[in-house]
Amino acid sequence: MAEHYSSFTKGGRLWFVQRLTAAFLVIVLAFHFFLLHFVHHADEVTFLMSQARMTNLTYYSLMILFLFTATFHGVNGVYNALVNQGLTGTKRQAVKWTLIAASAVLLVQGVRTANAWAGGVPI
């Protein structure tokens, strides 16, 4: 009977970061869903309500960290899934750099959006 199984290379740095972000996202994704669908409701969203939340430094920081960890976890998960399916060589490199570029665009746009609400970093 196997004592340990993982589809990732054991001891790998990305393997560890994937698990670390998972542990963080389990809590923050549940909080995000609960706050914005059960405490507040999505159909009641207004710019001013979103702005009121995002001008709070703690909430803003949590959402920025959420954006970065979710992007890493999601995009690295896609990359791992493709590698597990047998992606190798030039195709693997092309996919890797495409995913990195897509992540960069997502992060820049996410931070721009957060700053649009908060009027810059709310310090």
Binding site: A2, T46, G74, A81
Partner: protein, 141 residues
């Protein structure tokens, strides 16, 4: 000393009738992961309407007439969007619960009962999803 766990050739989807709980968990986790990462990009694209909305005049913002608020309100008026949101919740809850199961297994906890914890994840996902339907559909019917 670690050993590899023989999961068979899971890529042969024609064998789906022979799949064990762990194989279904692997497939569901991949599927929900693809949905969530796709949604993340869509979510940021929709929320980006806050960028032009930020330069709207205060009276427009106070009257909820800005492009961000109007985009969200228009989407939320569609029953299809509400139903897709229930689906998103189901996908997110399963990914969270199965993710916890995977984290525990990677820590060496619960490998012997990994099939039972998969069934528990599915049942709890179903229960939470069904219980959330009234909240998600409120005002749309």
């Amino acid at each position: 000393m670690s050993q590899s766990y023989n999961r068979g050739t899971i890529e042969s989807f024609s064998r789906w009738r022979e799949f064990s709980a762990g194989m279904w968990a692997w497939i569901f986790h991949k599927f929900t992961g693809w949905v969530l990462v796709g949604y993340l990009f869509t979510h940021i694209a929709v929320l980006s309407t806050a960028i032009p909305a930020a330069s709207a005049d205060p009276s427009t913002l106070a009257a909820s007439g800005d492009i961000y608020t109007q985009t969200i309100v228009t989407l939320e008026e569609l029953l299809l969007v509400r139903i897709l949101e229930v689906g998103l919740l189901a996908v997110a809850v399963f990914h969270i619960l199965n993710g916890l199961r995977l984290l525990l297994v990677d820590l060496g906890i619960g490998l012997e009962s990994q099939d039972k914890s998969f069934y528990a994840s599915v049942m709890l996902t179903g229960a939470i999803t069904v219980a959330s339907v009234p909240t998600f559909l409120a005002g749309a019917l």
